[in-house]
Symmetry: C2
Subunit: 647 residues, 2 copies
């Protein structure tokens, strides 16, 4: 490494001096050698794009107020790598600025259990957002900028993007939110090398990149992406004109290595040893460098930084109790609790802001009360769910609490992959899904989220709560803000009875407090057991009455956490010899599936009947839709009777 | 209804006559009354947008070569309703042009089991694409236009969109494909009434609609969306300048009803009876019309047309056999079979075209051979997966065979909702997913599709095949093109051994032919049974050898259809007392989940061990990643031994 490193954080000089430029060029030369070394050693990776983005990376990490010292704090600048496959470039630039030992990255790239993965992840110090699927980075940057604004922190956000991903729709969604919210502190740098995997961008999918950004109201600058002078000036000017700015950086794919320059083949191909040596010699390096690095591979394996699931610190207030004579919908109970929490925290000096995101459905998803109480914390993101999912997730790791409420089909089914990336990024998003299951009113099959359990069962970190009545909804909503990580609340549309015990007292009030993973036995019996989910719980209670008239008694468990089956409750249920699951979710992938799986794992055996949704549902009044699907209380009772008779 | 109806199909006159206009206005007046009647009767729906789109609907369905007689054929014009919630407008316009009895639609809107759903579905004659999630319609239209082009049919495609959905990213993706592919026959009509649910579009999410379409290279016309003269001229001129055209139709929300005009509240609210009567009187109708219609509600319930899953008619050739000494990857075997099928059909006069879609990964997903053999059938859609999923699906219901190949994480995880809409639309898409499971090379966790089974288990129509070796891949690929509906093939990245029986002969060759849903017993034993999926099959065979050395014998079933468990095989497996599932998929949502569920349903009992992926995987060489996850052959053997010891 060169000894002199320019000190440019926060654009401390007007223009770069010759000494600064010489030093940066020397850093870039060495970083390029590092890129080649790590890719050659791993035998795979994306060298050419890393080389073309190299100077952008070095300059950005050089000016950003993001340092090895502050990178675990929240009030600082943020840098997002959207084209995550150019990780060798990002790692080498971060190493050059002292975030970690460059040899650690060079030696351990793409090695099992190393933090230096093929696509950037947050375990690497200085990486603010793990990416891999293209097109999501700008939305993450917008999420960070929104968090900064809410925290009244005067930082900047830099997002580096590839040119191939310019055509992803989600990029445009994020652009529009940035303009609408006045996020002039966000700067996008586009590595415009004109080459993607299949060839030149103009041939693969023509796009007028400048026109696209301008059409959405961004300022656009262009510069030579290999000139530090021009990059510095563009980055400095990026935040000066009151609108978010995109810098189109004209670059050369494979920059610095003659036989890689402009050649699509090296997009995702490692050089062989002969090519490696030739490349390093061209860059003025020692072709035997790799032999020095090789023995360090895995010896020892570097540790990544720990990334705990994001946690918020809001005052969540006291539970509200709905009486047995009140009949309301869970989404309203959620909305009341949210507005209450918002109001309690809104005027608090120095408290954590709570950002609530909406996609043009506030009235239906009941965030309108919050919007009124906390107008500066309410983000109307329009009909742009993909962008919203990512920005709401990203905001939660940048010092704010973050909640997004939407219909189940938009907030999860439509943006499944974004929620998966939120899981990977260990965000602390609170996701309120309304209109789940068959309970969407007359909107019909496209709007019936009968898959939300099945979708979240594919992930590892999400928690899911499907409350059974307004009282449980109130308590689960408040609990969600005390729980680290991503939490989903799922609610139907219709009004529900307040659930009561056999004495007529509210079950989910009084001494009850919400405990994640616990199934609550709400009726007892001996002939069988029903695991009932959400909107099916009161129907199961009605079935219980019908069955009792016939001399049949069953246990009823209210199951609100279908991702984490309560094994004690399951054992008790199986002891009756028959387990029936009741849900308005796809019968193969929801509570029934989770229950059968837990039975098999726990070596439990019983007659089993999974009642649920077995075809796309109808468009009609909710009760009619449930009736047609065989999911009303009389159907449940007769199906239970049937299974018990065969026990 | 008025007696005279203008005959305008195919723009048969230069300009509309006064008589034509008078007649159209009368049709529109009656259709608006119909809209109000159906919404009032159902007690829900979206009246105001239906009224603003009304004249656009009437004019489009009037000029399009889409009639009650030809609407079940493929070579004709197509009309897509992207803003599916304005279904009352679409139904009333279709009824006005004779597709069905207007009273049927008015009476049975949003009634359980009626085809006249809240959002348009293909069961209604004249509806070419079921929508509900906004932003997907243009991509469906592009799919239809691509099919027309491949069939060398000179038809047109009209797509009607709302203004709120202009900000959805997928719209932009579809725009770019239309321009790149020279689809000048596609015309988009935008209902620009400036109002969405939360208020004026300029406030909810500002977007320069004209600039967005122009930035992507579309011609843009503007017209008064309530002037039949202007609409007719714009629709006629739309296909005249060699580029796809968008018509911004300036309209008034709630047009024709004074108290609804320009009021956001009526976006999704039905009028009450008093409002209904007032509205109908304003429109010159009889306020008692609804009382005549009411008794028809459900008496009888109208039947929708039958929509069978799309079926293709390609020559699929003869299976190719890979010898035991060959070691290749399944994706290459797929690519060879696809290129073979392509070549056999490409020059065939009058045969069905086969469109193959790519998102910048042809070399990796092995469609490059096909692209070379059938260049006119290969669609490079760029890094725009959401648009591609929909256009590939839509093309398959418009007279072509359609295949999209992509990495699992892009072709399904990223576009889950689009594939769900394809399921709802009963398309016949063949979806080839490569790089599934942990077998993605070093790309790491974002690229590991460990959820594809779990995702498809949420749907009803998809079939999924995960071949165990190249021979089975070849046969499954050819079979897929003979099977109606949506079929997914899932393949890893690495080379695999050709699977052989105990005599060393290829298992999936010779007399073997692929049978959907059948598990194939490839080794016998008595102590337990392994259900092995895809890339885990050869590892399970190695485990079988290890166990045999220890005197333990197990049955091994090669399971290639995890969505449809073979119950005969499962019974045989359970008869051993222990079932182990082995997959490189999330252990809770894939083959293990399907197996446990089938056991519970079939009342089968055995010790159960689900081996699979239990955390996000590493970035490293495939074999290393499998080792770290405990999924190599020695791990399998020792876990099996463990479970058998506790049996």
């Amino acid at each position: 490494m060169t000894n002199y490193q320019p000190s440019l954080r926060g654009f401390s000089v007007e223009t770069l001096s010759c000494k600064d430029i010489t030093s940066l060029e020397e850093m870039a030369r060495q970083a390029r050698i590092n890129v080649l070394t790590m890719v050659a050693l791993a035998g795979s990776g994306h060298p050419a794009g890393s080389l073309s983005s190299m100077d952008m990376y070095l300059m950005t990490y050089g000016v950003a107020n993001l340092t090895p010292e502050n990178c675990n704090n929240v009030d600082r600048d943020y840098v997002v790598v959207s084209h995550g496959h150019t990780s060798p470039g990002a790692y080498s630039a971060l190493a050059a600025w002292g975030f970690f030992d460059p040899l650690d990255a060079a030696a351990n790239f793409r090695l099992c259990a190393s933090p230096f993965q093929g696509h950037v992840e947050r375990e690497v110090p200085g990486i603010d957002w793990g990416s891999g699927n293209l097109g999501q980075g700008l939305a993450a940057g917008v999420g960070f900028a929104l968090a900064q604004k809410a925290r009244q922190h005067n930082g900047r956000v830099f997002v580096l993007l590839g040119d191939g991903e310019q055509t992803k729709g989600q990029v445009a969604e994020a652009r529009r939110v940035a303009v609408k919210e006045g996020l002039s502190n966000i700067t996008a740098l586009i590595d415009y090398n004109h080459i993607q995997i299949s060839g030149r961008t103009e041939n693969v999918m023509p796009a007028d990149v400048r026109a696209l950004w301008e059409a959405d109201g961004w300022g656009v600058l262009e510069c030579d992406g290999h000139s530090f002078t021009e990059l510095y000036a563009a980055l400095r000017d990026g935040a000066s004109d009151g609108v978010p700015t995109a810098i189109i950086c004209h670059t050369l794919m494979g920059k610095g290595v003659s036989f890689m320059e402009g050649i699509p083949d090296y997009h995702g191909k490692a050089p062989n040893m002969e090519q490696y040596r030739q490349a390093v010699v061209e860059l003025g390096g020692d072709p035997h460098f790799i032999d020095e690095v090789r023995p360090r591979r895995g010896n020892p394996l570097p540790l990544g930084r720990e990334v705990p699931p994001a946690q918020s610190t809001l005052c969540v207030g006291e539970p509200r109790t709905y009486s047995p004579t009140e009949k309301t919908d869970n989404r309203s109970a959620f909305g009341h609790a949210l507005a209450d929490i918002g109001a309690r925290n809104y005027e608090k000096k120095g408290g954590t802001p709570l950002l609530v995101f909406d996609c043009d459905l506030a009235g239906s998803v009941k965030t309108d009360g919050f919007a009124k109480a906390c107008p500066h914390w309410f983000i109307q993101a329009g009909i742009q769910e993909h962008g919203t999912a990512t920005m709401a997730g990203a905001a939660s790791v940048a010092g704010v609490s973050s909640l997004w409420a939407d219909f189940g089909v938009f907030g999860l089914s439509e943006v499944y992959n974004q929620q998966r990336l939120n899981d990977i990024n260990k965000t602390g998003l609170k996701l309120a899904l309304t209109h789940v299951g068959l309970d969407v009113g007359e909107d019909g099959m496209t709007h019936q989220a009968i898959d939300y359990i099945g979708l979240l069962r594919n992930m590892f970190g999400w928690k899911l709560v499907v409350p059974a009545d307004p009282n449980q909804t109130d308590r689960a909503t408040r609990w969600a803000f005390t729980e680290p990580g991503n939490v989903c609340l799922a609610m139907g549309r219709s009004k529900l009875p307040t659930l009561v015990d056999e004495e007529g007292l509210p079950i989910f009030a009084g001494n009850y407090s919400f405990e994640y993973g616990k199934a609550v036995k709400i009726r007892d019996g001996k002939d069988g057991a029903i695991f009932a989910l959400g909107a099916m719980t009161w129907r199961a209670l009605e079935a219980w009455n019908i069955l009792r008239e016939k001399g049949i008694t069953v246990k009823i468990f209210s199951v609100s956490c279908p991702l984490h089956i309560d094994t004690e409750a399951l054992k008790e249920a199986c002891s009756t010899g028959a387990v029936i699951t009741a849900e308005d979710h796809h019968y193969q992938s929801g509570l029934g599936a989770a229950t059968a799986f837990a039975m098999a794992q726990e070596h439990l055996f019983a007659s089993f009947l999974p009642l649920g949704v077995w075809r796309y549902g109808d468009s009609g009044k909710s009760d009619d839709v449930f009736n047609h699907m065989g999911l009303n209380s009389t159907s449940i009772a007769s199906r239970v009777e049937e299974v018990l008779s065969k026990k």
